[in-house]
Symmetry: D2
Subunit: 461 residues, 4 copies
């Protein structure tokens, strides 16, 4: 996953963008970057690492100008290369152009083959680069025209922020509106961001979402709005509500925290159990666990503590420690669970390995019973619109029943939230307006060939 | 503050000590270090920074041996110097000696002056170094004798772990037992640590506390116990329960989480209020907020989110953001507090500046009323036994009434837990067995001259 | 300036290339890079800095394969950017391609404009990139055909080494043969390099020069030779003999050391002077000073010492030191020059500022007379074929007579070697076979527009 | 070996000291450090590495004050530890004290044992530390008295610079005057340095040597001179002339360059040979090779080139290259030696391994005959007064005749300069005034026990 941020019309644009990206850090911890425009020149810096480690006063001073865009990128196994770190910076006939992308272009592989055949040279393994090549080849005279022309060829999920050498900032969201993109105002400048939580940090005012299929152009203090030609029924990613977005953000107009709490409440109705204590898997499981506890009247406790100091890779002793990886991140409060019947609420169960370790740690600390409750339906399919779910074969729910999973993770009982329950929590009982392909396999935008999808995974942003 | 850890009798001693220190990271984030003994030689590495940043596989490989001790140190303004980072490593007539200290020697300044007058040379500005000089001058032939002789001269708080070049590991706790020190067992090796949470990570078994005034010597697989000559009534630091220790630790034989939850319950009894929601200041305020919510029957919610990515110093825009420092660390979930009467539970209120910012942020997010509840009594005095409270003049409660503080932090109401309430939570209604000098000004070990105390502050570990 | 190196058919290709580049370090100290091919994949690492600082065992281990090419690049003021560091790595319809270039394409600006107009996107400000774009657009099916097609459009100086993902290594030299490129043999593998000195280090055998206009393709243990269609009279850069190449190299079939010594001898004949001692400006002036001393029978001494430790930028005291920059690099041996009439032999005088400082330092150390002798003609014109001479306006000889320069540098007498004298030293009395445009302004390959040349300077390799 | 530098009375003391140390870099490349005094406080920074790598503007700005001392230290195998990097900084009853030492205390081991027995704690394995402990124990009230008292106990070689917290700078040289120490003047400030070459860089005026057994105290703009009680005949290290000092320095009142040239001349008289060319082993062999060439009328040429870019450790291919280490540092100019009878002049032959490699490289480049001439006598004994000669068993001349060595290094002939020849070059035909123990085994200051000497080697500065 990724997060994008942009500001235009502020004397300290790169400082503000740096803070905006810091607030989006949960959307990507692998690499980060900033590009800023001044006097007809774009400058950029990208590096592997966290926003607060990569940028300091000196670095930011080298990115002067009143317009800046930034990007954070998720750490995935295969494609962790600096050359894929965004924003990208290109020089083409239109001048210099910087681009930051959240999402995934599903027909990138075939477009790339076509572009290479006509003489294009690629610098990255990222799907984002095809957009810029299409723009470079477009015959339209201005950058907006080139962008619209390019996006006509492109299929999939994209929330983009572009910045030109002459300080034009453009935000665009694909017609389905898979990924969020919001508009804010900070004094005389406009800001764009993946999530509203970054507005809260910099004290910007939230104005509205960029609409699915909308293009906003921000220059010289003004914002103009345009439409992509294609128009479809929007399908916002429900997983942003379930897990990805920060609980203090509004996404798609709804408070993330409240949606999660409702998922927990509904889960308590759908899958009640006799127990002594409800504990969350922190931090993301906290709101749904509170919802479950309140609905079930079982006391809520913080029975698992999340460490603040999990950094880089850890050295594991040769004489290996049980559940080492999970232990470094989570520790059990024995006083909370010892001798108790425990309900553990988590927001997802992907491969099952982490849940299994948590269940064992809880039993090791004396829990008499462990009832696992997942505040979303079983994850049965991969996402090709920007979320980093593993391949289908790694998703335990793609090939096992709930009973089988329960036996694997060694919980006493295991229940998932129903699809209707999840949709009710985001106020869409019929599922309209949302993509829930990872739970249903119903992909709202046609995917390409199987081989292409495999290749796409490696370049996901 | 500081944390200490030691292991003797394990093939991967420094690897294990590294993990042990990682689990103690909350006790000190400024510097960290490790010393290990092999073949009659002590090696050490100390560096400014977090355990996981300072040590990697290569570094640890340079610290071979079956015995290792480690230290983490808190970041204080004045004395952030590498030369004060522990464990210290000294060469003296007894060979090589490494030492890690948690606590504060209150007569260090006068002892140092006396030692310098007799020709001793000091390398650090740390109070710990006087202990080693006293040992070097002692006439006793063996290291245990030298240590006892030295500690006879020393007054104050010390939980020490020493390691000699010939793999003798010694743990000692001052007669008052201010700071914790626990003994565990990992297969054939003994481990010592400031807190039991490090035993949980490495899967060691908790055996017992080192007793106040006890010296344990661990060598060749065996543990022998000795007594310091001085014997006084123990006064364990109550602030370890209130704030400092990790909630999943047992300190002084009691579960920290449960004590905090009881403080919250009692606070709800002592200072009830009509409200819609109880929220903690995360992470340390969570258990007491849960206690308050359960007792008061007001719903518990996570209305403040703590960021995982607060690293180094942050660049603040010139055009400054209100409550910038707090905002980077904490953000408000508007959906939880908007239009609500909010109870905020925190574990301490030191200068009042942070609380004031939190109150303002909550009101900014729409809170109708903000009731601040502190799960400890007012902090009126500095600690000279190892906790990094600021000087008295900076403690708002040393010179202001609760009413005045309430007005300063702009809360609707402000209440503290009573001293009896706090003591009840640690099962000592009469306050016996505990030092609560920071709340009462009753110092169980006589302090020295005022000027000396000022100097001591700079060298605190 | 730059240096290029390649090896194909060796189990430790990147290790050998690393050593080869180390021997070419004098050709470029700004950035360095390596690309290696294995299993159909090209990997590369480029970084600002010296070969020995950038690469270590770990880095080299990440560049496996039996074929590798490398590049070192000179530090020029404007274009010191990592993105211009070579070898470049591109993905295009033909697969992956890596390229290292020594020289300068004089029509790069117009080619770039044309390519951008047709939709090409540029990643660097380097002239080298146009070659790859032309290759990507070429219709020929194989890489050799694409390369020939591209080079038909290109004008200027290029000694190139290319490496494809499938371990084909190609060396090519422009029809004029401005820059050197030599072929060697190391056991079963072929090596290509800018200079023979790198063969000496790795114990490779020197075979022959790549001919002007020749393309050599090395794959599967064999070397095949091809010709560029254009054929002109070769014009090898005489400045490689005068200054640039290492004295232990053979360039263009001639020993550099001997050519320089002859320049010194001839200079003594052309511009004799009564003096007590001949001293060189080390290191490059040593052979010509020896030649001058032997011919003139004036004793040779090392009156100037060159520091081995001049690293990064130096901190100059505010209360500034006279001739600070030169002093850090060179120091005078007072015992050699005090009271003496001194002949100083240098190989070039560009702006005159350094020579002026040297003259003053010598006088400050007691020299009675200082006679400056330059073992080349006056530098009157910029180079556009790869050497980093400053712009014409900075060349003191472009606007001043020898007399005026003598007065400026404050020497007692100043003489340059004649053009014929220089040419005689490289065994070409008539100047045939050589480019000496920097001394004559006669450019053997037509330059483009003035504005383009200015832009070219910034991207020189 | 080491170099020391100090300045007192300059607004930019640490900047100047940094430059002074840069000029002394040849005396030690392992570690470097600076200490500066301001407002009663001493600050210091030491680090492994070269002066220009360790210090930058920011670092120097953290060392404010008008007095500063610096140190560079040689890289030896055993004791390369940061804790041994100087200047040391101590706190003792007299306040704070910084000390930089060039030389070696021969009775350090026994003094250390005695001090530890009385309770002293050692921080380093350096012999220098005993001086400070002796000072800390001294009863004299002032620092000069303490120093004199301490030095009464100390035996061996020491050129020391001390700096106190209150800006008193003290220079002292042992009664034998083994190591150099010179006094200079820079405007209103006094400077002390190991060699005059550092005065040339900073434009300070050379005043005089500190005399053997002299103590100079510099404070408040004035210099006072004192005498150590012990008085002996001075024995200045002749090896400083032969190899160690920079050729542009005056040591012991004599120009190093001239002495080396005379050694070469004398060597040509003592050991003439029919040959075609004389080449030096650069850089240190250059002046003596010039002397040899001039005397013998055989042409001088630079047949070996020294690389400027030999940095860190190099990666050697597994399929190892002959004479790899020497090749990286030196390369042969084939044009100079091919088909020739070559005289190679070097200043020392220690183990014989490097000379052997050079001879083989020369033959590999076509030399018909190789005659090795060493401009000093055979090195038969270790130095215990500060020079880093290996142990006796590693010195080939300690156990082999010149004939045997000639056969080992595979030269056609090998000759050394005679002891008288060397002494004549430093104007002391009878050898008076010099220590030449490394050539004769006559140690002017009694050494201690064998075991102590072994231990001393590890801590040499």
């Amino acid at each position: 996953m990724c997060g994008v941020f942009g500001i235009n019309g502020h004397d300290e644009a790169s400082n503000i963008a740096y803070l905006g990206m810091h607030a989006l850090q949960h959307r990507g911890q692998e690499s980060t970057g900033l590009a800023a425009a001044e006097d007809g020149k774009l400058r950029r810096h990208v590096e592997m690492g966290l926003v607060s480690d990569v940028f300091d006063r000196e670095r930011l001073a080298k990115l002067p100008g009143r317009a800046a865009i930034g990007h954070v990128r998720y750490s995935t196994a295969g494609s962790s290369e600096l050359r894929n770190a965004q924003p990208f910076l290109f020089e083409y006939s239109g001048g210099s152009l910087s681009i930051a992308h959240n999402g995934n272009i599903v027909n990138a592989v075939e477009l790339r083959a076509e572009l290479e055949a006509s003489g294009s040279i690629f610098q990255t393994s990222s799907d984002t680069e095809v957009i810029v090549h299409l723009m470079a080849k477009a015959r339209e005279p201005d950058v907006l025209g080139k962008l619209v022309s390019a996006l006509k060829r492109v299929r999939g999920a994209y929330s983009l922020i572009l910045l030109t050498h002459d300080e034009k900032m453009i935000g665009v969201r694909d017609p389905n509106g898979f990924r969020p993109l919001v508009i804010g105002r900070l004094k005389d400048s406009y800001v764009l961001s993946s999530e509203t939580c970054s507005f809260d940090l910099i004290e910007a005012e939230f104005i509205r979402d960029v609409e699915p299929g909308e293009i906003v152009v921000i220059e010289k203090g003004g914002l103009t709005t345009h439409k992509l030609p294609e128009s479809v029924a929007p399908t916002f990613c429900v997983f942003e509500h379930v897990y990805f977005a920060r609980p203090d953000s509004l996404v798609n107009g709804k408070a993330v925290y409240r949606a999660r709490e409702k998922m927990g409440k509904r889960l308590a109705q759908e899958a009640p159990v006799e127990a002594d204590v409800v504990i969350p898997v922190p931090d993301s499981g906290v709101p749904s666990a509170i919802g479950y506890a309140n609905e079930s009247k079982i006391p809520f406790e913080m029975g698992l503590i999340r460490s603040h100091y999990v950094g880089r890779t850890f050295i594991e002793p040769q004489d290996s420690i049980r559940h080492f990886g999970v232990r470094l991140k989570l520790s059990v409060v024995r006083a909370v669970v010892d001798g108790k019947r425990v309900v553990v609420v988590d927001d997802s169960l992907v491969r099952g390995t982490t849940s299994r370790k948590i269940v064992k740690m809880l039993r090791g600390a004396g829990a008499r019973e462990v009832h696992l409750r997942i505040s979303a339906p079983p994850t049965t399919n991969s996402c090709f619109y920007g979320i980093d779910t593993p391949t289908r074969s790694e998703l335990i729910a793609s090939s096992h029943t709930v009973d089988e999973i329960n036996r694997y993770v060694t919980s006493d009982t295991l229940s998932y939230l129903s699809h209707e329950g999840m949709m009710a929590a985001v106020q869409s009982e019929d599922g309209k307006g949302y993509c829930s392909a990872c739970f249903t396999g119903k992909y709202p935008v046609a995917l390409g060939k199987e081989a292409d999808l495999v290749q796409l995974r490696r370049a996901r942003v």
